[in-house]
Symmetry: C2
Subunit: 263 residues, 2 copies
């Protein structure tokens, strides 16, 4: 398996590249529209063509690169099935492995940060690697104050779905804001200040309800844009338009061609 951890600075997002060496199939988990070209250059350097993009959830802090990458590579857009996004090509759900060549990713329904959040577990008997999305971060977790967030559900997702995995399980989160890259299940069970050290649910809920976080910068255009798999809505503020403008032409051409309306 080829693996790369890629970082998008503006939203501190980690995008993960996994590729099956035997078949050449590959996936980008949580790609960001701003770094779509960088991601494609990385794939190109590795001699890979993008097969899939895969979302953990509908993001509020960045636009997904899914639609832009599909426009540029014809990759398939994969999202949690319960998101019911008409723009997606495939839906995944807990209980059915999503296969990227010989790599099996097991979707784990882990609501709490959003109502339909999923994590992805790679467990081939030898390696235990968990992509936690925004549900569990390094010594932190995703906020629960918007998008059907629910602190009780997040507590159950973390303690019942994640903390029951082997302690050595490598944890790759969707974000880190302090230059960290990785943690493990054991490390978070020991050290996570919100949910580690067997903290009870009611204390976790009190912590989450007391965070008093600022309103997300990009949520007003990111959520509707991501419900369209990364389409740039018309109301993207000027300072965030850049990555949208660069895709408008190929996307429009491709989509019109595909729809048969023109050309």
């Amino acid at each position: 398996m080829i693996f790369r951890q890629l970082f998008e600075e503006d939203s501190s997002t980690y995008t993960y590249l996994l590729a099956c060496e035997e078949t050449g199939e590959c996936v980008l988990i949580d790609p960001v529209i701003d770094t779509a070209e960088r991601d494609l250059a990385t794939l190109n350097d590795l001699g890979l063509n993008l097969t899939y993009t895969l979302e953990t959830h509908i993001h509020a802090d960045h636009l997904t690169g899914a639609l832009k990458l599909k426009a540029l590579t014809n990759s398939q857009i994969v999202v949690p099935a319960m998101d019911e996004l008409p723009c997606a090509d495939l839906g995944v759900q807990e209980g059915t492995a999503f296969k990227v060549g010989n790599i099996e990713l097991h979707p784990l329904f882990t609501p709490g940060h959003t109502g339909t959040h999923h994590a992805y577990l790679l467990d081939n008997g030898m390696q235990h690697v968990l992509f936690t999305g925004d549900a569990l971060l390094i010594e932190a977790c995703g906020r629960t104050d918007f998008q059907s967030g629910d602190a009780v559900k997040l507590y159950k997702s973390i303690t019942e779905k994640f903390f029951t995995l082997p302690d050595e399980t490598l944890v790759y989160p969707a974000h880190d804001y302090e230059g960290r890259q990785i943690t493990t299940i054991g490390q978070e069970k020991n050290r996570n200040p919100r949910v580690g050290d067997n903290r009870p649910q009611d204390e976790f809920v009190d912590i989450m309800h007391g965070l008093d976080l600022p309103y997300p910068r990009k949520i007003d255009f990111a959520v509707p844009g991501n419900e369209l798999c990364g389409q740039c809505p018309d109301d993207v503020p000027e300072e965030y338009r850049g990555p949208c403008d660069t895709i408008s032409l190929p996307m429009t051409e491709k989509r019109l061609r595909k729809s048969g309306d023109q050309g």
Copy 2:
């Protein structure tokens, strides 16, 4: 590959178990005498027989479990060749991979914590995993004030041998004192408070020389004992004798038998 990260509480030491699934051969990196039985129980649960013990360096903070494990399982004792320990069965050196079945561990001569310290890199093209011993710890590093320690050499070991590896390289240290289990090369390049963020050598040396650490509790018996691969010297203080007493009988029997002096 089977992998386990095992912890010895008194010295906060991580012992690593690696086993080749194809051949059943396995190694314990930096086993501790106090937890030798626990390690063997883990191996037993996995259906494995111990093939090798492998040391990163001559420890000052615990007695190695190498000799005890050899007495109990007939495992071979592997150490850096430049340690020139007559008690060892095999010596490893940089430039020659040490093979445990199909697992190749590449020794990296990384002096500074001790004069002959080695790290071990597992790099099969797909996985990059580095066992750093005491040279690089999570947001820390080994001390340099005894056993031919040298802050300039440690700086070069970390920046020239470790920080030139891919950022995604998983870093498993020989110790953590705060419940952490893992880091990466990229994370330490970013965040290590002593050597990260491109800190220059002279500043690192000043930090190391200013640490003013207490005299190690076990050094007076651990170093001579580890120069005998984990033989308990007569002057082990009573409070640390426990794991020594439990091995004296089988070790003596075995060694006498092997030497042909008796029985």
